[in-house]
Amino acid sequence: MTRVVVLGGGLAGVLAAVALTRHADEVVVLETDHYPASPRPRRGLPQSHHNHVLVTGGIRALDRLLPGVVDDLLDAGAHRRNMPGDCLIFSGEGWFHRVRTEADLIACSRPLLDEVVRRHAGIEVVQGVTATGLTGDAGKVTGVHISAEIRRPGRGHAGRLAELRTTTGTPLSDLPQIARTGSVRADLVVDATGRRSQAPGWLAALGVSPVEEVSVPSGVSYATRLYEGPGDIPAVMVHPKYTPARGGTLFPIEGGRWIVTMTGDPPLDEAGFLAYARELRDPVIADLIAKAKPVGPIRPCHDTANRRRRFEDVTLPEGFLAVGDSVVTVNPVYSHGMSVAAMTAVRIAEEGPSQRAVAEVADRSWRMAVAAPRKGGDAKVGRAMLSSPGLAAELFHGQALIPAVRDHHAVFRAMVDDPVEPLTAEQAISQFAWAR
């Protein structure tokens, strides 16, 4: 009987568990936190207050792993927008025309996505159990130590230990041994505990070489606020052009709400937040939220550094795999975390657990996040990108984690042809039949 224990019941952990049910006899998911009764942010996932989107690479992966889940998400109120076809985007080069590409985004709250995926996957997660270390040695991980609370007496003769069940709800057959040793045996332990993962320390305690951690500051912080607002509007993005990198986004999400994010160095008071939105390169977001009713407080996010733990570069013991934010966390402006989790899970489902495969998926997002901005470039191509489907596709497909192929003829036409007159703000907004 092969058993996988997944540590962490967030999106990456749940999707890894779904993928690994194809490779193991039983899968157990342990989550420190307790899920809320309805989709709302939880204590163990502080970033869930902030903006999360799925991009095409992640949308396709999610539907491949759990067919129909994307429809469930849209039925639950998430909004799908084409980039830039359904988005009002003011980039450093100017306003984008509404050209269509294969790049989409799905916007909803993080709690809704987590709940819809868990419900669709139909897997049971053991909540309120914390892993405290690994068992085994530098050659092989054999299980996880769990927190002592679960071994204290509770209702019934097995106490809370009876809550230890597989993803199908089957009680573990070795509860007496777990009670005696304080550890759960596993043939594979998957670390999906996120950016604050303790796994490098646990591995070191087994005698494994140190896992290199690279951190690249993003230099920006965020502030997010929800507003009541209709869903029939485009996603709105005002990008920074110069430092300080001040920008803003507005995405319609479920429940007739907008999630509005200011990036750079936004203030957290009401008047300051509105003034900051108005002082962006265009005040379109300020104009929208000035007429909308705020829901809840303005929430800051300062933890925006890009981090990469290179598990794949050390000789890992057999029976260990790290996934999700434990491996790579990029500046939230890229909105790649959930998509990387889904794409990783597809690789695991199709190829079996492989730290190298996890790294390959992670690195595409990582490279995009930490690459130095390209200096120079041809201004004509940059301008043409705003109206050329071929050039826009290259940009947005890259951002959406799907193959981005350079349209050489579009580049050549951009160089040779007279440039298209840039859109004014009014023209850009009027593309959406909505006046300022």
Binding site: R406, H408, V411, F412, M415, V416
Partner: protein, 91 residues
């Protein structure tokens, strides 16, 4: 010496001259009038020496020194286009 235009090059005659874009290096340039003439001759004739001689006959007006200089400059131009990958040359 047979000359061919690289498959990686997209090009077009425009009012300003021949515009070239190398799809692998990203290099873009627009040739002046003389460069454009040589480019078109490469496309039609595909041989280095006949092109140099033809340009010499057209512009040297029987002056040997000028003729030698034109041949040298045409060869330099073609050499630079071979070097930057716009043209391919096979013996």
């Amino acid at each position: 010496m047979a000359l061919t235009i690289s498959d990686a090059v997209i090009w077009q005659e425009t009012a300003d001259g021949v515009s070239l874009y190398h799809t692998e290096t990203g290099a873009f340039s627009t040739l002046n009038e003389t460069g454009s003439k040589i480019w078109m001759m490469v496309e039609q004739a595909g041989e280095r020496e006949p092109i140099a001689l033809s340009m010499s006959r057209a512009y040297a007006r029987g002056n040997d020194a000028v003729s030698r200089r034109i041949v040298t400059e045409v060869n330099q131009f073609i050499g630079s286009m071979v070097e930057n990958g716009m043209l391919l040359e096979e013996a």
